[in-house]
Subunit: 196 residues, 2 copies
Amino acid sequence: MAAARQTIAKEGFDALKLRDLATSADVTVPTIYNLIGGKPDILNLIIGDLLTKIDEAQANIDTSEVEAAFEAQIDRLAELFATDEDYYRAAFIAGDRSGLFEHDSETGVFAKFVAQPIAICRDAKAKGLLLGEISSEQLGEHIYGSYRLARQDWSNGYFDLPQFRRQSITGVYLCLAADAAPDFRIRLFRKISALQ
Amino acid sequence: MAAARQTIAKEGFDALKLRDLATSADVTVPTIYNLIGGKPDILNLIIGDLLTKIDEAQANIDTSEVEAAFEAQIDRLAELFATDEDYYRAAFIAGDRSGLFEHDSETGVFAKFVAQPIAICRDAKAKGLLLGEISSEQLGEHIYGSYRLARQDWSNGYFDLPQFRRQSITGVYLCLAADAAPDFRIRLFRKISALQ
DNA sequence: TAAAATATTTAACGCCGTTAAAATCTTGAG
DNA sequence: CTCAAGATTTTAACGGCGTTAAATATTTTA
């Protein structure tokens, strides 16, 4: 698996050939089938590893302050991705291709991650930062969408990690500003301008 | 090419085998190579066709009214996709995989399409609908992002065309509301609630 | 009508994921 | 310690894929 990680990181998932992998791990191809399985199984292990790492990165984030909460989530992810950028890019591409982030499943990845921004939005509404003219569900879904799009654009190689961070946070603040009460909105305007 | 379109529409791009294609077009495989080229060339023709159709769909849209302009753009696209949903889904997936929408190229697809919402935002600012606290470039880019994400989610099969329309338009209105002047903002709130 | 140019097909190559069956190594009872 | 039973690894091959050189058939041109 270490050899697979390295190959995927350097050359992408499609470049991973079982014969090459066997050579670099000093075994033969059927041994890989015996120990791990075929290519889809390798993919599943990579995706499982990805999700574990993301969960670890998102654990114990203080959500008491709205802006800090969102920024911390994104910063933690950016830091995680930076530890092995090629690998995480490849892992996300593999995940995207295998429909990892489909919306329907109640217990799926999407449902799990979209719940966080929705909860923070509810909190912000309770604090009077948001007007409540737009439902927390709609707002949270689009906030998560901002992150998802930036993440995809980064993993497709359209831009680098610093820009992933900028785009994500700008998107989050933009969504919040849509429903923000006057003072909070002005604060968001400043932050968005600073991110340009 | 008609046979290729049909196969891609029904079974996706990966399911397109040159031998099957040759059989269904009543020629042999090397004839395909002679007339069209290899698999990447077929992909390029599909993508070219896709872009042409999109251009046609977006031509002659009245941009004098802000909300109507955005809604018309999205509705025209949704109508186009509806004419052969499987095919357009497959074509977009092929396009995404070949890096069709990369951001950097000055003359690329991204630069071309992102220019439209930016222009409409400038117009809205001039009309006093937007405050101008957020730059038209930032706003336009995120508006285009809302559409892009919804389009990707649709083409990945995460939701259907009606929801593509809903998600796109909600995203656009959300971005606009972030920088909207009071009256315009209230109008957008109503539209967003209605779309829920 | 014959030769030149073009178009199509035959037949094969190399690469891929995958797997049955043989060979090797490990384990445990007598 | 020995040797059969079990688990592991390797050998060798299969079928399917995109691709292409070379032979064949067709069309065009002089």
